[in-house]
């Protein structure tokens, strides 16, 4: 793919909806966006697992993975946790405001090679955002038939931290699809699972080997325990897929800061299999 023009300047996109996902512990909002320009809107394509560089004009730029599925043609979404300068500025914007976006960048989740497999999604907190893009893609009626059993294990800190509640009904009612939710500690009124996701894999999920592929994303410590457990259960590291986060500036493998060994997370990732990670230096 050749990119010949200077595309380091962002395109303008309008915030058409802002949803406050959580507020009590973490401040997370989901931004629904669309390009100002109609032809741009029509030509825009991306893959679940890819990301955009998002600009708040005058403030700065930061990478965000798509939280919506490309099957939604009219808009795309990012979920943003307020942590630093750019995310704070984003949180201060309102519907109708204009931001800048450029991309999509990165490799995205493997779609074709996942066809014909069982899929397990294990996501924690804001880490569910990039998974949601893929979940909504595979559960879409156009695509659902391409995959076998689909299971979701969504982990949150507490009931107040649950994300994407509006999707639950749809997820749960799709055929041959099972959805589980867990929180870290028992809590009054919570009747679903309790405990860290790695402790629930054996009991709550059916990992039919060898045709199962696992997508996991969440806090580094969760990924560590989950992947250790999965390997222990005999799942091939090439079938365990995660995404990495790194500080980035350019998004195209040039500016230097997101490299892990000779791989650039922005260009060669952010999606990697556990097998690939095993070959890379441990610098994340």
């Amino acid at each position: 793919m050749k990119v010949e023009k200077t595309d380091m300047l962002p395109q303008k996109a309008e915030i058409i909806e802002i949803k406050q996902e959580t507020k009590t512990n973490l401040n997370i909002k989901t931004f629904r966006l669309r390009f100002k320009d109609r032809s741009q809107r029509d030509n825009f394509q991306f893959k679940p697992g890819q990301f955009m560089m998002v600009t708040v004009f005058g403030v700065g730029e930061a990478p965000f993975g798509f939280a919506s599925s490309p099957t939604e043609k009219e808009y795309f979404e990012f979920s943003v946790k307020e942590v630093g300068l750019v995310t704070e500025a984003l949180h201060n914007l309102k519907e109708g405001d204009i931001i800048g976006v450029r991309g999509p960048y990165g490799n995205g989740f493997p779609l074709e090679s996942t066809e014909g497999k069982n899929i397990i999604f294990i996501g924690g907190g804001i880490g569910i955002a990039p998974l949601r893009s893929l979940i909504n893609y595979v559960l879409d009626e156009e695509n659902r038939h391409k995959y076998k059993k689909i299971q979701l294990l969504n982990a949150f800190r507490s009931p107040e931290d649950t994300l994407y509640c509006d999707d639950y009904e749809w997820w749960e009612n799709t055929e041959n699809t099972e959805v589980k939710y867990t929180i870290d500690e028992p809590c009054e009124g919570w009747s679903k699972c309790v405990g860290f996701p790695h402790t629930l894999i054996v009991e709550e999920l059916n990992y039919e080997l060898p045709d199962t592929r696992v997508f996991t994303c969440g806090p580094p410590i969760m990924i560590k325990f989950v992947t250790e457990k999965l390997r222990e259960l005999g799942i091939d590291p090439a079938e365990i897929i995660t995404t990495l986060e790194m500080r980035m500036s350019c998004g195209v493998g040039k500016c230097g800061r997101c490299n892990i060994g000779h791989y650039y997370v922005c260009k060669d990732g952010p999606v990697f299999t556990l097998e690939q990670l095993g070959e890379m230096p441990d610098e994340y």
């Binding site: 700065g60 630093g84 300068l85 704070e88």
Partner: protein, 283 residues
């Protein structure tokens, strides 16, 4: 004034003894690189390597800051008089422990080539040490050394000063060598790296460069020991010491305060007396 060779020899002997008797784990001093004949900080761990320690007119770095890397370890350090003041300042701020430290202080410091701070330096003997090397200089000898020194910037009028500093800071690439070389600059996060609030623009333009040097200069009040390490570190030959040096002389002139003279000394800005001079205030 002491001579470099005899100082070198004395340092090596003391270091050898300290390492042989396991009084310290390492000696921080100056030596030559493996491929260049340039002076570089060296960290001697074995008695047989102590001969590598030298002192000459190019020992321009302040070694004091390295002490922050060895908290809890027993280390010896070679200290020029200015560096010994920096050690005092660290002790007074409780950043290092006296009992972990063996100071090899240089008396009658013969100065560093190209370091303009030495031209006005009136502290030529180590102010704190366990071992002293070289020959102590008397007050008269010191006065004779700095006699006739005049601060060129002091003589300029406001417009000339502005022009002078514009010309200097225009060259700044914001590599932050001055900051990293300075013993005072040990903040966990420098204001330059803060983006909330954002004190400083990221562009390397004159106004941002000015802001950087002025803000850094202000932080030097009552802390700078006028060692000149910042200026020696600057790859663009910028007079980065000027603001800090001005802060030193102002502290001395207004509050009769000289930083790092005593390990018990409180920092200038942490003390307030009702009868403190308010020179310059609302003038």
């Amino acid at each position: 004034m002491s001579n470099y060779d005899s100082i070198s020899q004395e340092i090596s002997e003391i270091a050898k003894k300290l390492l042989k008797e396991s009084k310290v784990d390492k000696v921080i001093g100056f030596g030559l690189g493996r491929f260049t004949k340039e002076i570089t900080p060296i960290f001697i761990k074995k008695a047989e390597d102590a001969d590598r320690l030298i002192f000459n007119k190019n020992c321009e770095m302040s070694l004091t800051k390295y002490l922050l890397n060895y908290k809890g370890e027993k280390v010896a350090i070679v200290a020029k008089p200015c560096d010994s003041r920096a050690i005092n300042a660290y002790l007074s701020e409780d950043l290092i422990k006296r009992e972990d430290l063996v100071i090899i202080g240089i008396n009658g410091c013969p100065g560093i080539e190209g370091n303009t701070a030495c031209e006005e330096c009136n502290i030529r003997n180590a102010v704190i040490c366990d071992y002293s090397v070289g020959q102590e200089m008397s007050e008269e000898e010191i006065q004779a050394e700095i006699e006739g020194f005049e601060d060129e910037i002091d003589k300029m009028n406001q417009a000339e000063r502005l022009a002078y500093f514009q010309n200097e800071f225009e060259r700044c690439t914001r590599c932050y060598a001055c900051r990293e070389a300075c013993y005072v600059c040990n903040c966990e996060q420098c204001f330059t790296d803060s983006n909330k609030p954002k004190w400083l623009g990221e562009s390397v333009k004159l106004n941002d460069n000015f802001t950087y040097h002025l803000m850094r200069g202000i932080h030097m009040a009552g802390r700078c020991v006028n060692c000149g390490a910042c200026e020696m570190a600057c790859p663009e030959g910028i007079d980065v010491r000027a603001f800090a040096a001005k802060m030193c002389s102002a502290a001395e002139e207004i509050f009769d305060y000289k930083s790092g003279m005593d390990p018990e000394q409180k920092t200038l800005l942490s003390e307030y007396k009702v009868d403190d001079s308010e020179k310059g205030f609302m003038e």
